[in-house]
Subunit: 317 residues, 2 copies
């Protein structure tokens, strides 16, 4: 049996902010039979994860530069791969049977593990410490804030709308939150929310927010750099953190990727599942429908459209 | 008995590059008798340590800003304190007798401990790793490079003259060294010396060199920020490290102060004394004579005049 498979490509490398016209939906004919003797599995994708890091794979820089080479560069015209959850429709493999639910292998962008590993392994938090999270209503930030509250930290988040600020304070239990778009001087803003300084800054945005956070860090403060979405789409935009502060306050700034935490995946998964089951951790999903909605779902990440984890639902289970 | 004591003051806060006219030598009458019942000690200073960090105590910023408040700000007209070695000339204290050699308490600028703690505790080096040291002929850098060689690392240093480069390669055993003033593109320069990338960058200068090093770091590379002398005297000068590299290569940048390593002072002192006695570690001192030479010795630090540790000799033992 043959079906038509839809997929998304970039028309050319993307150097600044992405928009819908950069993408194209393509079709290919696809056979649903398994060659005898192969251990192939055919999977129908149900849910696809939409993550900002993909923008870095779409840059010509990525294709030419070894700095991020382990993150496979995307070629214009080539199907874009990403994390997905799917259902097995046909299997020649003894490990899988029809109707099994499976998850794609690109787990290094998996928001929960990014939040768990980044917060616990990189930030090494202590109960009572003061934690600041940027892009706090985003897929990673909202979970970092909730883990921090579960540990007994004081947590302030920032986001880009009053609606998101409300979600953080009312639904997710953040101690406080603010809309960075309403602030004119981020340094003063952070001083207001952290009069005694910040122990941990979980950075999802880079740029001016990173600079302001460095000024407000306490001695021995830790900055985990998870992403720098404000810099992804503007090559000219660069944080210039005050290095004098970094020396005198003995600040650690550390980049990381979820891929580095596969060794604690079981621990992450067990604890987080328990939290979710017990109602101690809220899962915030922002769903769009259909493969055609992938480009606009992706573009929306850079406009702050999503609240929580952005997922495209491709098919019902 | 009364003597005349000379000391150095700043005439006003110093905001950019220091020069001799910023300083003044003052005199005060000083009694050499100990009040009975006190446990005072009177010390004759023999050697005084000249360190770049003092510039940060001379800024008006320092007086007004809590970021570096633990580093006591200097007030114009006030005697400048620093690390010194002296001899006890009179003692009312049971712990000291006349002619004891003593060292001042401001040990946090002590070059050897800075090098030892910064390299071993912050960089966590492994035998065979590739180490880059900036300001490598300076008081801290030259010792970091020597420790790194003793551990079995590959070490490249940069300095500001051919004479210094020669010292690093011929006397101190660096694997290679270059004069940064002769290089036009530091990124390419570092690629030439580290074709496979840098594991550890021991940063004494900040600015463009830090940016170039970040680009050339290997995955899981560590940057210890000991000082940023290129930024101390120019408030506009700021490193803008590529944060995308920091995330994707999981780089750690960490500031530190020698004061944090007092718990390993005994270990540092024992090992380093052994190395020096056995001729495995060279001590490079750059001496000036007399209290009046302090301002120009200090100003010279920012012009790259010193080779090794800058010391002013105040009196013979």
């Amino acid at each position: 049996m043959e079906v038509t498979n839809k997929y998304i490509v970039i028309k050319h490398h993307i150097e600044d902010a992405p928009n819908d016209s950069h993408f194209e939906v393509k079709n290919e004919a696809f056979g649903l039979s398994i060659n005898s003797g192969s251990d192939d599995v055919i999977v129908k994708n149900l849910y696809i994860s939409i993550d900002p890091y993909l923008i870095n794979r779409m840059k010509s820089y990525s294709a030419s530069h070894n700095a991020i080479s382990f993150s496979t560069p995307l070629t214009p015209g080539q199907a874009i791969d990403a994390i997905a959850i799917g259902k097995v429709v046909a299997s020649g493999n003894v490990k899988f049977v029809k109707d099994d639910l499976v998850m794609g292998v690109f787990t290094w962008g998996f928001s929960g593990l990014t939040a768990y590993g980044g917060f616990f392994e990189i930030c090494k938090p202590q109960k009572g410490e003061k934690v600041f999270v940027s892009a706090a209503s985003g897929s990673v930030g909202n979970i970092v804030g909730q883990y921090a509250k579960l540990l007994g930290c004081y947590v302030v988040g920032c986001a880009g709308s009053q609606k998101k600020v409300g979600l953080l304070k009312e639904k997710l239990g953040f101690d406080d939150a603010f809309n960075y778009k309403e602030e004119t001087d981020l340094n003063s803003t952070l001083k207001r929310y952290f009069p005694d300084g910040i122990d941990i800054y979980f950075d999802n945005v880079g740029g001016e927010m990173l600079e302001a956070a460095i000024i407000n860090m306490k001695a021995f403060g830790r900055v985990a750099v998870c992403g720098i979405i404000s810099e992804y789409t503007d090559a000219e935009k660069r944080a210039s953190p005050n290095m004098l502060n970094i020396v005198y306050k003995r600040i650690t700034i550390r980049g990381f990727l979820a891929a580095d935490f596969m060794n604690i995946f079981a621990d992450f998964s067990a604890k987080t599942s328990d939290y979710v089951r017990n109602g101690q951790l809220q899962v915030i999903e922002d769903k769009s429908l259909g493969v055609e909605s992938i480009p606009s779902a992706f573009v929306g990440l850079f406009n702050g459209d999503n609240v929580g984890k952005k997922v495209v639902v491709l098919a019902g289970e």
